[in-house]
Point group: C3
Chain length 260, copies 3
């Protein structure tokens, strides 16, 4: 199985599907092509959430503002999954999570994944603007059909790769200061604050205003603001049947202060 | 075959696809994940239109504003199809249509479908905000692989389920008063008025203004308003190469009066 | 393999998938359903770019503002691919490219594709507004399962079909005047000017203002305008990490003058 994830929207992903279908019979499953355009950190967050739901597969993740420059292409192997991506950190958080999956120590410092740099066969033929089609899709097809990245001529093990870590929240005795990492399609504003910090609380102050903490959106009336813990385990600013980002007046990258 | 339909947008459906791929080899076909957010009635309308085009399959339909509350999960069997959904009525109209499919009596009062309540194995483990991933996707995989819902330990036949019916239009000798049920991506405003009422008419008055009745959008000039009968069989307010909702100034839930 | 491309958005394509699944076991791959609504020329441009990436397949392309009128349905065969579409020119550019693919003479005047007109079996049963479901999807399934269009009873060879050609740019010694053909989801404004004309140039004047010519977006600072050659081989007006259409103030159909 080959999964595809990108910020390409439409119709560029079709070229990637075509290139893969022309090279392998492997099943293709789209993750999404609607990541926020050129937002490597948001894509890194979401692939960390969704790819571990899949059985071991080859995942092609292309959010690549550096396309056409000399940034490398990497193949990462973690817990039986293979990740094909530009070397900009977009698959590092998911590799870290997958690599530690079996022992339940997410974000452990002992990395349990391997990185190869992939030199594309015809890279001089590739366009400078669409490596999804010309580099990553054919690489994903090759990786899918190989027994392992090490089997491929043009894959070279490397210890030099671009890391990406989400910012740490400041968690104290009386509150936490976090940052909005992503806003989902419902408008829920997802912070980097771990859900544990609001466990057992009936309410918290968000940037000074008191807001109820609830397990489910529908525990409040339509239009009411709440703090909840999303499916990713982080604190989320939300509105029942509405958009949390608008109601709280926040956007990606904003800092937000929670007090209890 | 397992079909997926939701209002999740991106990227949450990828988690559902992953969960299903990890549990069954069944083919996955996406219906859509762009239903109007949390609009159970609109989703009920569209799945009634599109799911009967499929061969018998397991259909997972998740538009679920009550996620995390004590609303039940249901499995509905109708005419060989199996529908997995929250118990909020979203699959009742399609079940009714499927169940009556063979005798051509749509919306007949004699229900020809069966309902099971499904108690999820690890419901205490599930998140409170993403039952698509934690409850409905694994249930759909289990239902797909089973010979029937009755075979599953945690499926219990029930006669208590949440109904959903579309409002009836008022149709008289000189006109009809209906409601806009949905607006499609082209901007066509779909009413609950059956197409038969405009059969043979050259024009009708819509909220007082005379508008031609035509079988095809392109029978008029670009930008011209028309009344037509959509592929769903209902009266539709449309504009050739434009958006009917804007030209008629209507939105979902608005009442509209047709006179002839 | 059957690919699907349309301007239908959501959820109408699901009905097409269902109809096809009910008639054939062939694999379905979505190209896109987000072509600009009813823009036959834009769809013709994009399918010319992406369909040749696929191995030989049946491609169902429906952008059809004339739905319900007497426009014909065509099946086009080119280089082993079969294209099912309304007879409005939407698949002619890709057929021309596929037909000439082997000898590397794109847009050659010697056509190397064949056209059949397809008369649908139950056309009197079809809706007037959704031939994607009632005509093109079943035709694509039939074409997929047949050894060739000529094998189908209702397919008749024809030399009369609607052509579609993109406008030619005016290219002179000191500049070119072109037209914006499409704007992609990143906001890159794609012209009809072939990339060769800016080869080796460090900058050009676009509508009078000097703009650097670069191979990759990221060779400039975020927000900087550039002229580049897109993956389609045409000159593109772009912005690094931004939208070229807005920065250059252009939209589809606008003329643009490049001087060197």
């Amino acid at each position: 199985m080959i999964t595809l994830a990108s910020d390409f929207g439409s119709p560029y992903p079709a070229a990637m599907r075509g290139v893969i279908c022309a090279r392998t019979d492997g099943r293709i499953v789209d993750v999404t092509h609607e990541f926020p355009r050129q937002d490597v950190r948001a894509a890194a967050f979401w692939v960390r959430e969704v790819l571990p739901c899949f059985p071991p597969a080859t995942h092609c993740v292309v959010v690549d503002p550096g396309v056409g420059t000399d940034r490398a292409a990497v193949v990462v192997e973690a817990d039986g999954h293979r990740l094909v991506a530009p070397d900009n950190g977009v698959v590092v958080p998911v590799a870290r999570r997958l690599g530690n999956a079996t022992d339940g120590r997410p974000d452990d410092e002992t990395e349990a994944f391997d990185v190869w740099e992939y030199e594309y066969e015809n890279s001089e033929m590739a366009s400078s603007t669409f490596h999804g089609r010309d580099l990553f899709a054919p690489t994903a097809a090759a990786v899918h059909d190989a027994d392992g990245p090490g089997e491929l001529d043009r894959c070279v093990r490397t210890d030099e790769w671009v890391d990406l870590r989400f910012p740490d929240p400041e968690v104290g005795e009386e509150g936490a200061v976090g940052e909005i990492l992503v806003v989902d399609d419902f408008g829920n504003a997802v912070t980097n604050v771990p859900g544990e910090v609001v466990a057992g609380l009936g309410s918290v102050r968000v940037d000074g205003e008191r807001v109820p903490v609830r397990a489910a959106y529908a525990e409040l009336d339509a239009g009411d603001r709440l703090v909840t813990v999303g499916s990713h385990g982080n604190v989320e600013l939300a509105v029942n049947r509405g958009r949390g980002d608008r109601a709280f007046g926040v956007a990606v990258g904003d800092r937000t202060a929670l007090d209890w």
